[in-house]
């Protein structure tokens, strides 16, 4: 019965496929096969000597039949488009389709056939007893049970039975071709398993004979049986007439059908999307609960509790370890993983940034996050424990949680602290790649809950702090070796870790959860993404209220944010830092509408023809300039100025210039810089016209003009600084700027923190959307160039990974570090190498062998290990710049390699040259300098160049000792953007460029040392 149900369901699926093919109009794809009739002229794969092969030749004479020894070769071939279909038995086909989502079955069976056990001719006795056993098994239901347990349609694990097999007696050798799950395959214990494996074991028990499996290729089975190598073949072999000529078959134990596997037609995915129920059950890899993880590939962080949990809870799953979480996420995005286990705050954050990922709501385990302290540091531990208790009691911890562990993407409200500068420094180890616990913020500082906690600790303890950022697995070694004093990095207090370090009381209880890809269809069903081709009608926007359940884009930290949140609580709020991002998001249908200043909107739609204004008057707010609450004087002076300007009409001139006319064409009058003692620092975010823009190397816009006028009138030396919009208020409060302006709406919330000037303009909010989605104007012809081109996606990546948050600074710093380490390590290594080479060539046995040992040890140690030893062991108790350590470690390594190069180069110079030099009257050293070295250099340089290049590339591991080099910089960026493509490609290109430039330099040296070239040029 069960089988029939499955068949029906699959048949349903197949029907869907066909229907979609027809309706979707994808028929132009030539090689899509949906029924047996389509197979006439294609390439069909079959297993050598199988009935499928014979069938294929007979039924499809016009088709090309390719023979494969192994079913997986055939599958590989179909996947790589080398064949179009594979003919095999139904259970095998079922299993293959289960594991390969892009393959499917054709549900008309090609043929039915009997599967039976093959026995050597004339073994009447064995044949009789096997027949009897099969009859028994068929009658008592064992065969049915076997079918039920082995021929499954879902991914649930097989229930294998344990048998007590006879050990004594005449051994029965059974031939198998164990590559066809679920009929016959090798299980995790390296035994022949599956339907046939179990059948063979049952037979063994019934016969009272021990069995031995001989696994071979299918085509070798019958020859093996005939030659007596095996006594019987139990491997889903069909009893054909042809085979009957050579061997005897028992009564059939399974009625098999041969079916075709083909590639899923294009569009089948969409079909399954529309029927998510089906897709989940028909064996695609959608994972919706923890039980589905049993056989999945799970990613976890090296040494994390997630890794341990994964191993313990899902022993049958394969657990992959990653050093940083974004690698795991990237792997999952690239379909290399099915799930990732991490703590919930991080998971939340990742899902926030990756719309195709989601959490499994059941948590795996709860665990305590605590600060790690070196053993025996009782004082520090006690004070930290007290501190945590205090923070818990006074609600600080709760506040922290509230502010950092958000479910939406609203910006973090970072607090500014005045940290102590004097006193003994507390070094804190972090692995700042797990937002929101611990990450590098736009200011290149360690931020997040842990970052803030650390700063609070610093204040409470009255000790300055220094962060050392390193890979997670390096944290505990660093603590033990004294490189850091405490670890605050979302570290779970496990028993194992407690053995080496002490933990404070827990400051947060986190749970480990699993992130998986959203089940296909879930996205559509939940309606988060409004651009759904399936239901285009609902995309149409008539009024603002149509946005109630859609994604709406707003400027990060603007009033729109709270406006949308209040008015349309069900709407998804996407926050952007620039109107460019917002427009991009609109065009790529990430959001349905964007809210922004009406003036800016009118400018925007001029340059983006496919956009239109949905509503021009969503919200009106007065605009004001922000002042520090403590600086009433400046506020008053500004208000006075504004009042006068309004009364004498000069303000109207300004207002008309920017508001009434086209701001793009507005010409701002020139202002002279006032060289006054008093400085006025104005913070702007350079959002866009008409407020503040940066054009032709100058700040322009109404806000700027007002401020310039103020400076002129009041005699200030004006300085304009640019920062992110959300940072403006913070900067003002912390006194970094004296006033802020950039079309800032006066809101109550803001007024709590800062003072506002009188309003100088009104702020109208408009909602813009794609024209075709706006009911009122959707009839207008729209330019259909909306698809994101590759070029555009590169620009997108460029903006996101480099420009945003000034991430290029990270890259520039990383690049500098990499170049510094490379060059200084090369210099150190070259000199040290020369010394070692000199020692190696010394006639003094002791000196010679010291050099020899040095070379063999250093060349035999991985650089990474050497680097870690240098940092964590050799310089354990010294407070030393890790860049310096990196230079030393790479220098040591480089020396070992180049010293042997030098030796080879020097020994390659004919000894006669030295003799001649000495005979002329040069001392040994002068002979070396004037005669040997110039000749050796020419021999050494080519290989030296190669070694130099590999040194540059080797430096990419310095992240292990808390150095922010180029690779680490890209890691940090990736930890924020979760974009693998752009940062990695960029870093690869940068490494190439470094190598290339330095190579050119060495090439120049090489040409300089070529005596012929030099002389010819010189004369």
């Amino acid at each position: 019965m069960k089988k029939r149900i499955t068949l029906n369901r699959l048949g349903f699926m197949a029907l869907w496929c066909i229907l979609l093919l027809i309706s979707g109009g994808c028929g132009e794809q030539k090689k899509e096969i949906t029924s047996l009739d389509d197979l006439k002229n294609v390439k069909i794969g079959a297993m050598t000597g199988s009935t499928g092969e014979a069938l294929s030749l007979k039924r499809f004479p016009a088709a090309t039949t390719k023979s494969f020894d192994d079913i997986m070769d055939a599958i590989a071939a179909i996947k790589s488009n080398q064949i179009d279909a594979v003919i095999t038995s139904y259970p095998t086909a079922l299993n293959i389709c289960k594991h390969n989502q892009n393959l499917c079955l054709i549900h008309e069976p090609v043929d039915y056939e009997d599967t039976a056990i093959a026995v050597k001719k004339n073994e009447k006795e064995l044949l009789a007893s096997l027949n009897q056993i099969i009859n028994e098994l068929a009658n008592d239901g064992t065969l049915d049970d076997l079918k039920k347990r082995w021929l499954k349609t879902d991914m649930s694990p097989y229930e294998e039975k344990e048998f007590d097999l006879p050990k004594e007696g005449n051994v029965l050798t059974v031939g198998t071709a164990a590559t066809r799950e679920p009929i016959c395959f090798i299980n995790g214990k390296n035994e022949v398993s599956g339907f046939d494996g179990e059948l063979a074991r049952i037979i063994s028990i019934k016969l009272g004979r021990p069995i031995v499996f001989k696994d071979m290729t299918f085509s070798a089975l019958i020859p093996a049986l005939m030659s007596g190598k095996v006594d019987a073949i139990i491997t889903g072999m069909t009893a054909t007439d042809e085979r009957r000529k050579s061997v005897d078959f028992t009564t059939p134990y399974y009625k098999n059908s041969q079916v075709m596997i083909v590639r899923k037609p294009k569009g089948a995915d969409k079909a399954s999307v529309n029927t998510p129920d089906e897709s989940a059950k028909s064996g695609t890899k959608a994972i919706t609960s923890l039980d589905d993880l049993k056989h999945a590939k799970i990613g976890a962080m090296t040494g994390s509790t997630g890794e341990r949990l994964s191993l313990a809870r899902f022993p049958t799953a394969s657990t992959k370890s990653f050093d940083v979480i974004m690698d795991a996420v990237a792997a999952m995005n690239a379909n290399q993983l099915d799930a990732v286990i991490i703590s919930d705050p991080t998971a939340l954050n990742i899902c926030k940034h990756n719309q195709n990922l989601c959490l499994i709501p059941e948590s795996l385990d709860k665990e305590n996050i605590a600060i790690a302290v070196r053993k025996n540091e009782k004082d520090l531990l006690a004070s930290l424990n007290n501190l945590i208790k205090d923070l818990k009691n006074d609600g600080t911890l709760d506040d922290l949680k509230k502010r950092w562990f958000k479910t939406d993407t609203s910006p973090y409200e970072e607090k500014e602290f005045v940290l102590p500068k004097e006193g003994s420094v507390l070094t804190i180890g972090t692995s700042a790649t797990s937002e929101p616990f611990c990450f590098i913020n736009g200011k290149n500082e360690v931020s997040g809950l842990d970052g803030e906690l650390a700063r609070i600790i610093s204040m409470k303890l009255g000790r300055p702090i220094v962060f050392k950022d390193m890979t997670f697995s390096a944290l505990i070694p660093a603590l033990l070796s004294g490189k850091v004093d405490i670890i605050i990095s979302g570290m779970t207090a496990t028993e194992e870790r407690s053995k080496s370090v002490d933990f404070t009381a827990s400051y947060y209880q986190e749970s480990q959860v699993v992130i998986v890809k959203k089940p296909s269809g879930a996205e559509m069903a939940s309606g988060n993404v409004p651009v759904d081709e399936a239901k285009p009608d609902t995309d149409m926007l008539r009024t603002m209220d149509d946005l109630a359940e859609k994604d709406v884009g707003v400027y990060e930290g603007t009033v729109h944010d709270s406006f949308v949140a209040k008015k349309y609580p069900k709407a998804g709020i996407k926050r952007y830092n620039s109107s460019a991002d917002m427009v991009m998001a609109l065009k790529t249908k990430k959001i349905s509408a964007a809210l922004l200043d009406a003036l800016a909107a009118s400018v925007l739609i001029k340059t983006n023809s496919e956009l239109g204004i949905l509503d021009n008057d969503v919200l009106t707010l007065p605009l004001g300039m922000g002042f520090n609450k403590k600086d009433k004087d400046l506020l008053n002076r500004f208000n006075n100025y504004l009042k006068t300007a309004k009364s004498d009409g000069s303000f109207d001139v300004i207002y008309n210039r920017w508001y009434k006319g086209d701001p793009e064409k507005a010409q701002m009058p020139k202002f002279k810089r006032v060289s006054a003692e008093k400085k006025l620092v104005v913070g702007v975010a350079v959002e866009d016209l008409p407020y503040v823009a940066y054009m032709n190397g100058e700040y322009v816009g109404i806000d700027i003009e007002i401020v310039q006028n103020l400076a002129q009138n009041e005699g200030f030396d004006l300085e304009i600084v640019t920062m992110e919009f959300p940072a403006l208020v913070t900067a003002l409060i912390s006194g970094k700027v004296d006033m802020i302006t950039d079309g800032i709406a006066i809101t109550e919330e803001r007024q709590k923190q800062i003072d506002f000037s009188d309003s100088y303009a009104d702020f109208n909010t408009a909602a813009i959307a794609l024209k075709k989605n706006i009911a009122a104007i959707s009839q207008e012809p729209v330019d259909e160039s909306l698809k994101i081109s590759f070029f555009q996606s590169v620009i997108d990546g460029f903006n996101n990974n480099l420009i945003k948050e000034k991430r290029y600074l990270l890259i520039v710093n990383g690049l500098t570090t990499t170049v510094i380490i490379s060059i200084f390590a090369t210099i150190l290594g070259t000199f040290l190498g020369a010394l070692v080479c000199f020692m190696r060539m010394s006639r003094n046995k002791l000196v010679n062998s010291i050099a020899a040992i040095y070379i063999s040890v250093l060349r035999g140690t991985p650089v990474l290990v050497l680097l870690m030893i240098t940092f964590y062991v050799v310089f354990a108790s010294v407070n030393i710049d890790p860049v310096f350590v990196a230079v030393i470690a790479f220098g040591l390594n480089f020396a070992a390699y180049v010293s042997e190069m030098f030796r080879a180069g020097i020994e390659g110079v004919d000894s006669g040259q030295t003799e001649a030099g000495i005979a002329i009257g040069f001392s040994k050293i002068k002979t070396f300098i004037y005669i040997v070295m110039p000749q050796a250099t020419r021999r050494i340089l080519p290989i030296y160049k190669g070694e130099f290049i590999s040194l540059i590339k080797m430096t990419s591991i310095v992240g292990y000792i808390a150095v922010q080099d180029l690779t680490k910089a890209s890691d940090i960026i990736r930890s924020r953007t979760f974009d693998a493509f752009f940062p990695l490609i960029m870093v690869a290109v940068l490494y190439y460029l470094i190598s290339w430039v330095l190579m050119l330099a060495l090439g120049y040296v090489e040409r300089m040392t070529d005596p012929k070239l030099r002389t010819r040029k010189g004369r």
């Binding site: 004919d910 006669g912 001649a916 000495i918 005979a919 002329i920 009257g921 040069f922 001392s923």
Partner: protein, 362 residues
């Protein structure tokens, strides 16, 4: 100018030079001749300490150069050396090869050094090669540049270590001509050479070295025309010898014959002479061996290229036994053959050794 006293050089207990004492005076052109492997080159290299002597003293201008505080590089500047393998500096042009020493060591200005270098190159006939590199020159040209390089340091003596051995025969003369010219100009030189004619013509003193000592020392006329000592004679006459020891009555006659044939072929002896040699030797050994209590015989063949004579010597240790005077041998068939095929048949008994020498008739 150079005085050598009891100079000994050993390599791993093998003595190459043994207690050599000699003197080289200013203006002398000394040729050092002798068979290969007898320490000629080692002796020369000891003079400028390219090899460190094991014992003995070397005085240059009455300064003991083996003393620690002696400035050896300074001493070497006074002694040029020309190598068998030229050893021109491969990374420098010909001109730079000549100027590097004067500029770096003598403190000459580059211009002065180059001017001098061009002069010297003219002297050896290679001025047009000034900008070439060593690997663009022929062997003879390289050696002439090497000589010019020595001269650029304005040495008081030049040591030549087989300057023509690595050269094509066609290039030997151009190098020898340069050396001859230097000799004429009064340069003090010590030349290790195998060019006998050249040694005879150019030098005013010849040292014959053999077995690590200066075997004979004298004017070229004496050494070449009337050598006093046996080995000198053999060398001057370009004697090639073959020695075969026999230590058992059942010696391998055919093996010995094969070696003798090979020796004869090598020196292109007439076939008749070779057959006669084998016949004489076989007869003599047949006569000797039964009469000896203990067989310890050494057979020596010596061929003089200059005189084109082949001498045979048979040494047998044991009691005195003169085959020539033995009356029983008078009519012996074998003895008759020996007498017919040889001349200058002589017998000697000395230090328990019977020595029979003869020359094969032509």
């Amino acid at each position: 100018m150079i005085r050598v006293e009891k100079l000994t050089k050993k390599f791993n207990d093998i003595s190459i030079l043994r207690d050599i004492t000699t003197e080289i005076k200013k203006g002398e052109v000394i040729s050092i001749i002798g068979p290969s492997g007898t320490g000629k080159s080692t002796f020369l290299r000891c003079l400028n300490l390219l090899e460190t002597p094991t014992s003995g003293t070397i005085f240059i201008d009455e300064v003991d150069i083996l003393k620690k505080k002696t400035d050896v590089p300074k001493m070497r500047q006074k002694m040029g050396m020309v190598f068998q393998s030229f050893n021109l500096f491969a990374h420098l042009t010909v001109l730079e090869n000549l100027t590097i020493g004067p500029v770096k060591l003598l403190g000459k200005s580059k211009d002065a050094a180059e001017k001098k270098a061009v002069e010297l190159l003219k002297l050896v006939g290679l001025a047009e090669k000034a900008d070439s590199f060593a690997d663009e020159l022929s062997g003879g040209q390289k050696q002439r540049v090497a000589i010019a390089r020595c001269l650029s340091m304005e040495p008081e003596i030049i040591l030549f270590d087989e300057p023509t051995s690595a050269l094509d025969p066609t290039m030997v003369s151009e190098v020898l001509a340069v050396i001859r010219r230097l000799a004429k100009e009064g340069m003090t030189m010590a030349i290790v050479t195998h060019e006998m004619e050249f040694a005879r013509n150019v030098s005013n003193r010849v040292l014959y070295m053999d077995e690590g000592i200066i075997y004979e020392d004298g004017a070229p006329q004496i050494i070449f025309d009337h050598p006093q000592k046996e080995k000198t004679k053999a060398f001057i006459n370009r004697v090639r010898s073959f020695v075969y020891p026999i230590d058992s009555p059942n010696y391998d006659l055919y093996a010995m014959n094969a070696e003798i044939e090979a020796f004869c072929e090598k020196h292109i002896l007439p076939k008749k002479m070779r057959n006669n040699t084998l016949l004489v030797l076989e007869e003599l050994l047949a006569l000797y061996i039964p009469k000896l209590k203990q067989v310890a015989i050494t057979v020596t063949l010596a061929y003089s290229e200059k005189k084109e004579t082949l001498e045979l010597m048979i040494e047998a240790s044991g009691d005195k036994m003169n085959l020539l005077d033995d009356p029983a041998m008078a009519d012996d068939m074998g003895m008759t053959i020996v007498r017919n095929l040889t001349e200058n048949l002589e017998y000697q008994w000395k230090d328990g050794k019977n020595t029979l020498t003869m020359a094969l008739r032509k």
